[in-house]
Symmetry: C2
Subunit: 294 residues, 2 copies
């Protein structure tokens, strides 16, 4: 990963409609200081974000990403982002991506402590080389997320359906997975229901049907999972959102972690027990995910 570009945004009110937002952006050096020490993003992880995969300068699944940014902002009581402004910012950032795989991050923070308004920025970086995870798969461990499967509905202040900047637990889960000799984690509820990976969605194939945990508030609705379901449906496969017990992950015909940058990584083992990797479907799916599309 290497930085390619960064820009600060002056967040627009959601009800304005200028002919261009260009004068609300300014480029910054991604390695130089741009944020004040009182930033609530930095002090409290108080904000929301998106990571968009970019193929040859084309941002994938832009609209689902923008919609999810707005959804996360609403859950967090942040001012409604002006999606026209963000769309234009992504277009400007995309021009700095170059060929191959890149990642554009959108960050919307509550702003500086006692400050008048949110802070927002966009970064562009080249993507890490994920070819090995796509080809060989990832070993995962299941980790208890602490919550039961009713928590999201009962306690919306847990912000479980928002992609917030408070990702310390997600990062800790990946470190725990590595300590256990695995590559990644899959969060499960305390009552044994599969949720999501710290930075990816889970898709399983069970009896010929492709299944993903229903995004009913406890997890994010994965943008790459949406792309994968589009492709699977177009190829005649059955897809379904439903609750998945952890036992079903261990006995799945095949399973994947899917995310915007790593794309589809087949799960090679769960808690040390191998599961089958479907190399053919994985290759075809990733070929689709690596083709520019909306």
């Amino acid at each position: 990963m290497a930085w390619r570009y960064a820009m600060m945004l002056d967040p627009a009110a959601s009800d304005v409609s200028p002919s261009s937002f260009a004068d609300t952006f300014h480029a910054v050096d991604p390695t130089a200081p741009s944020l004040a020490v009182g930033e609530l993003s930095a002090q409290r992880g108080d904000g929301v974000f998106e990571s968009i995969g970019v193929i040859d300068g084309h941002p994938q699944q832009l609209e689902p990403h923008l919609e999810r940014l707005a959804h996360s902002a609403a859950i967090c009581d942040l001012p409604e982002p002006h999606l026209g402004q963000w769309r234009e910012a992504v277009a400007a950032a995309s021009a700095h991506c170059g060929p191959g795989e890149s990642v554009i991050k959108l960050i919307l923070s509550r702003g500086v402590e006692q400050g008048p308004s949110p802070t927002a920025w966009v970064t562009v970086a080249s993507a890490a080389d994920n070819s090995r995870a796509r080809a060989e798969g990832v070993r995962v461990v299941t980790l208890d997320r602490g919550i039961d499967s009713g928590a999201a509905a009962r306690a919306p202040w847990l912000l479980l359906g928002a992609k917030t900047l408070s990702y310390a637990v997600n990062m800790a889960a990946i470190r725990e997975a590595k300590r256990r000799g695995a590559d990644d984690a899959v969060f499960v509820t305390s009552d044994g229901i599969v949720l999501e990976a710290p930075t990816a969605s889970v898709i399983l194939r069970i009896g010929g049907t492709y299944v993903t945990p229903a995004p009913t508030g406890a997890i994010l609705h994965g943008t790459t999972q949406l792309s994968a379901f589009d492709w699977l449906t177009a190829h005649g496969h059955d897809v379904e959102y439903r609750d998945v017990p952890v036992s079903a992950l261990r006995t799945a015909d095949a399973a994947w972690l899917v995310s915007s940058v790593r794309l589809a990584a087949p799960i090679a083992s769960v808690d040390g027990a191998a599961i089958a990797v479907d190399a053919e479907v994985t290759r075809s799916l990733n070929a689709y995910l690596l083709t520019p599309h909306d």
Copy 2:
């Protein structure tokens, strides 16, 4: 609250012992950019912090704060902070506090993405006027933290005992409390055990004994709670750490939220039902907490 000072630290290895760390600090404008957009504090809430109350330039409970910073860092697999360096940084920052009440924040971030080392900074601000909360008390609502009382022991990757920068849920809980017409929240487990407030510890008086939930991993060990227990013990009161069911909060003889800056705020009501405020103990305790001490 108004900014008074800020400084960046170049974190020292824990095993060095120079005669002074002065050349590892530099003052920055708290309102000007000091952090890069790739800061993992800002992107992922990935780091730890402390907020130290300062009275007339004297940082209260400095050593418990430094010890907790180190404890939080260990839970988060951050490099061990050099407490001698942080102690010296706090001393330098204290010189900018002036008379009255101030707050010094210590922040240790994992650093910039793909960066070589942690980022660290210290801010100094005047404290908000908390006299009303201390005198009149705070109305609290109990909010489900989603986890059961066994989660911390079972799932250390939830980082429940660390004071991390991932505080979006804490901030959301305070917003939810305000939506319900209250001032603050008290987190409880899904099985009905009192935890802590989003930014404070809970102390109750039950049958003449001052009780606080045992900091066994699910909550922070409050530095102001430690001070309060010192004072209570010195005045002949019994103090105890133990599990507190939420029913005991509702029927307590008296209860307080205690924290480094607001100090002791008596709880005036729980979920809309008034509880007794002990104005005399509150006044005496706050007089102690407002006296410079170590």
